[in-house]
């Protein structure tokens, strides 16, 4: 069957057999940002956004995304033009092995879209589906707060080129 969706802002279509899950479809087509962690919706490393809401793509049928807008980490920002969250995650030391990071960033983006200055409890709630084994979450909470502040202050306007040694 033919599957049509908007993927990272572009209209795309895929021919699928039916049982494919969104994670497999994305990875088979070179969108490697979503990771496979548990295949059971428990860890969130496969998270992508569907119509602005983050979901676990490992248990989400590709067919469910038909006619919808899918955003992967590749659509959030690039190395040349990272999103404020991508920048602050790196600056704050919130990235270690990186497996959970794409999914967590999309959850954080969803949070900031609906709650521009989140409190600690909001952040904990918004990221509670994204397990991380490396960081203890401390730096990630900080990174979300710093990004929120930066976006509000308009300094980064959501997107700003990264500068190498700025965090010194």
């Amino acid at each position: 069957m033919k599957l049509e969706m908007k993927l990272n802002g572009k209209d795309v279509s895929f021919e699928i057999a039916g049982p494919e899950l969104l994670l497999d479809l994305l990875r088979d087509n070179g969108y490697f940002g979503a990771k496979r962690g548990c295949d059971n919706g428990d860890c969130g490393s496969c998270a992508v956004q569907v119509d602005g809401k983050s979901i676990c793509s490992c248990i989400y049928f590709a067919g469910q995304a038909h006619g919808r807008e899918v955003t992967t980490i590749e659509g959030l920002g690039t190395m040349e033009h990272p999103h404020a969250l991508q920048e602050t995650f790196v600056e704050c030391g919130a990235v270690q092995c990186g497996s959970c990071i794409p999914g967590m960033l999309l959850s954080a983006k969803e949070l900031l879209d609906e709650c521009p200055s989140p409190k600690d409890a909001d952040i904990r709630e918004a990221l509670d589906g994204n397990l991380c084994r490396c960081t203890g979450y401390t730096k990630q909470f900080e990174a979300v707060k710093v990004a929120a502040k930066r976006i509000i202050e308009g300094k980064s306007k959501g997107r700003k080129p990264a500068r190498g040694g700025k965090s010194r």
């Binding site: 676990c56 049928f61 067919g63 509670d128 994204n130």
Partner: protein, 287 residues
């Protein structure tokens, strides 16, 4: 893996969806959030009927009921202002207790009810609020929560039927409520859910609806416990009595995580605290 799955259908109306289900008979499955289907094996399923685009994500009130569409994601319920105040916010709290935002975004009210695992968040709350399930099919059926919840989906819900809506009586709006989950961690399936609603009339308990979940295979009402409270000016000993009555004689679901005895003890504690917190309007504490 659903190896035989070949088609997705995206009906725009309930009637359309029912027609497709009829056509496929047992070879089609309804899908809303999809969180329970992605990893299933069923060699019969050829078609998925995606009911998430039929306008069933509504939340409205009529004269007698609060009406909640079945494809509302749990996150939408958790965030709803209306649900945040209706009956002390019981439904919003129940929805918020689903421990992963990613799953709250996908899981729907209908899915939580239809699958009704012992630890499902919504059924105990709906039972507490005397909700009714609206089922579309050849004829429309209205099934009280007591009958629907926890039963096998095919006994109540036919293969060619769809749960479209949940109605909660508006008279429950002014009840106070309490909802607590006990588990090892936030993401652990609930071992105990205590869901309660109390009605106060000039210092006296004028009504009580007490439900236990998690510890039993299906959420159950506890009439014996309710009797301990109704008509009384409530004091701590009443909550203790009611909690003891609530766990009396229940059939406990046990897995390796904790013993039967422990679950019963904890259920009683959690229930007592939930009742106390409910009565004092959350001013003192259930965890």
């Amino acid at each position: 893996m659903l190896r035989t799955l070949k088609e997705f259908h995206y009906p725009a109306t309930v009637a359309e969806a029912l027609a497709i289900l009829q056509r496929f008979d047992s070879r089609a499955s309804v899908i809303a959030g999809g969180t329970s289907l992605g990893r299933t094996d069923d060699a019969k399923i050829e078609a998925m009927v995606d009911i998430s685009r039929m306008g069933l994500a509504f939340l409205k009130e009529d004269k007698v009921s609060l009406r909640i569409g079945s494809t509302n994601p749990l996150q939408a319920l958790a965030r709803s202002r209306k649900l945040g105040v209706f009956a002390g916010g019981l439904l919003a709290r129940a929805a918020a207790s689903q421990p992963s935002r990613l799953l709250r975004n996908a899981m729907t009210l209908g899915g939580s009810i239809v699958l009704s695992t012992p630890w499902a968040e919504m059924p105990p709350a709906l039972l507490t609020l005397d909700a009714k399930m609206i089922i579309a099919g050849e004829i429309e059926r209205i099934i009280p929560a007591e009958e629907f919840i926890g039963d096998s989906k095919y006994r109540v819900l036919g293969r060619s039927e769809i749960l479209t809506e949940v109605r909660v009586p508006r008279e429950m709006a002014s009840w106070r409520s309490g909802y607590s989950v006990f588990a090892r961690t936030r993401t652990d399936p609930a071992m105990v859910i205590a869901s309660v609603a109390l009605l106060e009339d000039r210092g006296t308990c004028a009504g009580a609806r007490i439900v236990l979940g998690g510890i039993t295979r299906r959420a159950i009402r506890c009439p014996a416990a309710e009797k301990k409270l109704v008509g009384k000016k409530l004091a701590p000993q009443h909550f203790a009595q009611a909690a003891r009555a609530a766990v009396g004689g229940i059939e406990v679901v046990v897995d390796w995580r904790a013993s039967r005895e422990y679950r019963l003890q904890v259920a009683e504690v959690v229930m007592r605290r939930t009742l106390a917190a409910c009565w004092s309007d959350g001013k003192e504490g259930a965890r």
